[in-house]
Structure formats: structure tokens, C-alpha cells
């Protein structure tokens, strides 16, 4: 099994069809396959254990991904936004590698490690010219990609995804060649994130043209969406918020072709998705939940569920707008307590997942239990109809005097207030309770702010008294990473200052 099958089938079915648009150049599936074969021929000549991309999104990302797969070498996309010190550590962990992209930085940070460094232009040119040298794929390597987790809680872990995981995901969720020739997908997630890889695989298999936007800016996104008649887009919530701000401010970009918006990556505020559903009344919204270790999506809330929830009178149905939907038909999900025993609907615990696409494996060890279940370290619960609600990272749960408190329930109450733009609840040291609730609040610009007593009253009106914050911090903004994930560790540090 090898993911190169995806590109080979796309090129077999429609060699002349445009598969990728990047920086003004249009690539057919035939050209992409030829370049990937050329890249593989080159890569097989190098002494390297990994093929690494240290670059923004470009045509080099699919060519390196499929080239590495054909050459039988694991692909490692690196986060170019990392600080020098952190990046140097990761470069040392993959030596010797073929590093494509920021050659200067790779050489400076990890000299004498035996890396072969190639800049983007040279890599693509060499790949295109070497296609004739390719013999046959090397099928003996079963690891497709090694992706370093973001490491917000410690040293980044090297998650392994095997060809069987990624192919299992694609074959189980995407119908081959199901996209219309006019379909186009705007991709603005970074290439080092699992969503950047799964976007390439899904779109190539469906034969939906990819239009790449390497660095997200709302005006660039709107311009490209109109110019390329984009039909599908994936956004993290903060990107959607910024696009909607531009539309509110009078952007006249023509988005009539935009049929579907998928979102995920970080927490979607209820107010934002409700406004989006009003602003795009004919657009199909899909909320996707997944992890690096699960080859992307494991549960989704589809377009019909969004519209049903939007118009529902039944509070259980309207609440589903805050869920991540139901598990894919190809995976199983269970909620378990601290002893690993399954919990009934309505009770919150740790989310476990099992399925072909679930790797749950790191370079150092596998996290799967003996029956193949992966403990996600995400907390959540299922409703009676099987809709999954997330309740933060299991590590983020606040334990106050033995009582488990999910930050999300407090944050929901706060952000529902019209004056509050954003809020985070974290565990803070407490002499009385061991740990207690601390909240950080961001008021909307121009809104009348609430004092500490009013904030506590807001929570007291809706939640049990154990949820009342012991400490409160007011800030202009909360720290997020580029995928819209709240950096809770940094928020926690505000309370230790």
C-alpha cells in the first residue's frame, strides 16, 4: 500500500485536468505525477532517512509528499514558524534528511548533520527534469509521514502515519473522481499540519482542483476565492472571523461559487458560527474534528445538521451547533472514565477512537491499547443521538477539590455576554482547593466592561458555585497558534506572575 496510488489514479483518469493552482501556475494531474516521479528518482540518490519540507505551501508540498512516498522515504513537514532553538532540535532528530525549502536556515541551525539541502525552485526544477529516470515505486516502507505535534505541553512528539492509515482515511471517506470539473478548493492551512496533508490527498482523489494560498490574509483570500471561482474552503475559526469582518466592512468579492465551508482546528465560538450561517445562507457548513494521530477527521457535523440546529426549537437539537457531529462510519468512538471504563451518553470523560485511519503511534512508542483504541487526551461526551461534544484537553480539566470542571462550560457562559469578545478558564493554584478557576477575559472594543463582581455574578447565574473564578485577568487578546488553538499554558502563566 502506498499513497502514491491516489495521484496515479488521478493522472490515469484525467491526465490533462488541472489539479493544482499555485502562484499563478496551473499543474495538471499528469504533470504532478511526472514531477513526483522525478522527485522520487532524485531522492533515491540521496543519503537521507527523511524528506523534509521547511517551507510555506507551494507546489513543492505535493511533489515532496508524493515523491517521498514513491521513493519509500518518510515525509516530515516542519513548522517554519518555530523559533530557531526549537527548529534546530527537530532538524537534529531527522538527520540525515533531504530538506526542501529554507536552505539557509537548515544549514545554519543544524550544520554538519549530513542534511542535503535544496531550495524550492531547484527542487521543483530538478523534479520536472528527472521524471524519465524514475523506475518503480519502492513499496517496502510503510511510514508515509512523521509529523511533530505542536508540543504546547512539552517536547514535540513525532507522530507516525502509515500508508495504511492515510489510504484507509481517504478510501473510507472520499469517492474517487466525485468532484465536478468546475469545483475548486482554496487551501490556506500550513503544509506542516495534518489538515494540509489530508487536503491534498482528499482533493486529488476527488479530483477537486486545489488553489493554494500560502499565507492567509482575509483580503487575499476573498480576492482569490472570487478570481478562481472557489467552491470549497477549509478555514480555522479565526480565519472565518477575519473574512466576515472584511465582508461586514464592505468587501464586494463575488463568492457566488462558494458552496461549502469546512472548519476545524480550534474552538468555534457559538456566536461566530451563527453569524456565518446567516451571512452565507446557501453555503454548506461542515465542522470537522480530528487529530494528527488519526489522519485528520474522525467526526463531523454536516451541512444538514447545521441548518437543523440553526432553526431548531428543541434545545437539544440547537445545542448540536456546538458539537463536532457524529463519528465517521469508518471509526468507533467511546467515552471512558479515568479507569478506562466506558461511560453512558451525557457523561464527560476521555475520548477514545479506533479505526483503520487511527495511527496513535509515535516514534518512541504506540499509544494504542491492546484492543487498538487510541486515547486522544481530549475530553468530551456524547448526546443521546451520538453527537460528540468536546470539553477541552483532558489535561486542561480544572480539578477543584476533587471536582472536575471543564473550562468550556465557563468560557461558553462568558463569551455569550455581548460585551465579551473572548475568554479562557484555566486551573490556578489555590491554597484552599489545590486548584481553582482563573479566568482571562477580553472585552469587545468600545463595549462597556464588567467589573470582577459582575463577571462572577454572570457565572453564578448560570453555573454551580465551584465554577466561580478565584482570580480574574483582563487582557486585550488571548494567545492562539496559527491553527486557532488557544495556548492555555501561556494563559496559565498570567496567573503565576
Amino acid at each position: 500500500m502506498n499513497i502514491s496510488l491516489i495521484l496515479e489514479m488521478a493522472a490515469e483518469a484525467a491526465p490533462e485536468r488541472i489539479g493544482l493552482v499555485c502562484d499563478g501556475r496551473r499543474w495538471t494531474y499528469g504533470e504532478l505525477l511526472a514531477a513526483s516521479r522525478g522527485a522520487a528518482a532524485r531522492l533515491m540518490q540521496y543519503d537521507c532517512n527523511f524528506v523534509s519540507l521547511l517551507d510555506e505551501s507551494s507546489e513543492a508540498a505535493p511533489i515532496a509528499l508524493f515523491g517521498a512516498a514513491l521513493a519509500g522515504i518518510p515525509y516530515v513537514p516542519l513548522n517554519y514558524r518555530l523559533a530557531d532553538e526549537d527548529l534546530a532540535g527537530l532538524l537534529a532528530r531527522i538527520a540525515p534528511a533531504c530538506i526542501v525549502g529554507d536552505v539557509e536556515r537548515a544549514r545554519r541551525l543544524n550544520p554538519d548533520a549530513g542534511h542535503t539541502c535544496v531550495d524550492r525552485t531547484s527542487f521543483v526544477a530538478a523534479a520536472e527534469s528527472a521524471a524519465g529516470n524514475f523506475d518503480a515505486p519502492r513499496d517496502d516502507e510503510d511510514i508515509t509521514a512523521q509529523i511533530f505535534t505542536s508540543g504546547t505541553t512539552g517536547t514535540p512528539k513525532a507522530a507516525l502515519l502509515r500508508h495504511a492509515n492515510l489510504l484507509g482515511y481517504i478510501l473510507g471517506t472520499v469517492e474517487f473522481c466525485s468532484a465536478a470539473e468546475t469545483d475548486a478548493q482554496l487551501v490556506c492551512v500550513p503544509p506542516y499540519h495534518i489538515a494540509g496533508i489530508s487536503a491534498l490527498l482528499s482533493a486529488f482523489y476527488a479530483q477537486r482542483r486545489i488553489v493554494m494560498l500560502p499565507a492567509f490574509e482575509p483580503d487575499d483570500w476573498l480576492h482569490l476565492a472570487a478570481e478562481e471561482q472557489i467552491s470549497n474552503a477549509f478555514l480555522v475559526p479565526t480565519m472565518l472571523a477575519r473574512i466576515m469582518e472584511r465582508i461586514d466592512a464592505g468587501s464586494t468579492a463575488n463568492l457566488t461559487a462558494l458552496r461549502a465551508i469546512a472548519y476545524g482546528g480550534g474552538r468555534m465560538p457559538a456566536e461566530l458560527i451563527e453569524r456565518a450561517l446567516e451571512l452565507f445562507p446557501d453555503t454548506a457548513f461542515t465542522n470537522a474534528y480530528g487529530l494528527t494521530e488519526t489522519s485528520s477527521t474522525i467526526a463531523l457535523l454536516g451541512p444538514e445538521d447545521h441548518r437543523l440546529a440553526q432553526s431548531a426549537k428543541d434545545p437539544a437539537v440547537s445545542a448540536r451547533l456546538g458539537s463536532v457531529g457524529r463519528p465517521l462510519p469508518t471509526v468507533e468512538i467511546e467515552i471512558r472514565d479515568a479507569d478506562g471504563l466506558p461511560l453512558p451518553p451525557g457523561e464527560s470523560g476521555e475520548i477514545y477512537v479506533r479505526g483503520e485511519q487511527v495511527s496513535g503511534e509515535y516514534r518512541e512508542r504506540s499509544a494504542l491499547d491492546k484492543d487498538g483504541w487510541f486515547p486522544t487526551r481530549d475530553a468530551g461526551w456524547l448526546d443521546d443521538e451520538g453527537y460528540l461534544f468536546l470539553a477541552g484537553r483532558a489535561d486542561d480539566v480544572i480539578v477543584r477539590g476533587g471536582e472536575n470542571i471543564s473550562p468550556g462550560e465557563i468560557e461558553d457562559v462568558l463569551t455569550a455576554h455581548p460585551a465579551i469578545a473572548d475568554a479562557a478558564a484555566v486551573g490556578v493554584p489555590s491554597t484552599e482547593w489545590g486548584e481553582a478557576v482563573g479566568i482571562a477575559v477580553v472585552f469587545k472594543p468600545g463595549a462597556e466592561s464588567l467589573d470582577d463582581d459582575a463577571l462572577r455574578q454572570l457565572i453564578r447565574d448560570r453555573l454551580r458555585s465551584s465554577r466561580l473564578p478565584e482570580q480574574i485577568r483582563l487582557r486585550d487578546e488571548l494567545p492562539y497558534n496559527e491553527m486557532g488553538k488557544l495556548l492555555r499554558r501561556e494563559v496559565r502563566n498570567w496567573f503565576n506572575e
Binding site: 496510488l5 471517506t173 472520499v174 474517487f176 482533493a203
Partner: protein
Amino acid sequence: MKAGTKLKSAVCDTEVMVIRAGEGVVACGGVPMAEDKPAETGSPDSEFSGGTLLGKRYVDAQDTLELLCVKPGAGSLSLDGVALMTKDAKPLPSSD
């Protein structure tokens, strides 16, 4: 036969990948398929000449075996002499 194995037709260009392995003889055009393509290729039996379609999944009536067509051809697929049928999956919205 195991999941991931590629089988080639002896009578046409058809290649399939085993998604779910089952018991029995998988044939294309009425002639058993194999991992290595035979040097001499015949022509499909008229009973099994409907052709295969790229990207389609094929299953038996008992749903014990599932094949993905990764290269199309003129022959059609069977398990122990019984024609396989295409499987239509319920489409999911794109989440990537």
C-alpha cells in the same frame, strides 16, 4: 490474499487493490487474477466482459470481499465464478 495486495488481470489492463480480503478465487474476464501479470494475455470470457471502472469498489453479495479498481480494463470481476457488483458509498461532505 490480504488487504493492500494488488491483483492484475490476465486478460485486460484491469488492476485492483484488495480493500477487504475474502476467501475464494478472484477472476477478471473469467480468468484468475494474480499479483504478477502473466506474460501472455488472452481475452475476456464473453460472460465477464462488461469492463471495470477506475475508482469503483467491487463487492460480493455476502459483502465478504471488497476490491478497488485502480486501473480499468475490458474484463469484469468475479469471485468463484459469481460476478461482483459495485458498491455505492454514502457520500460524506468534504471536511478537509
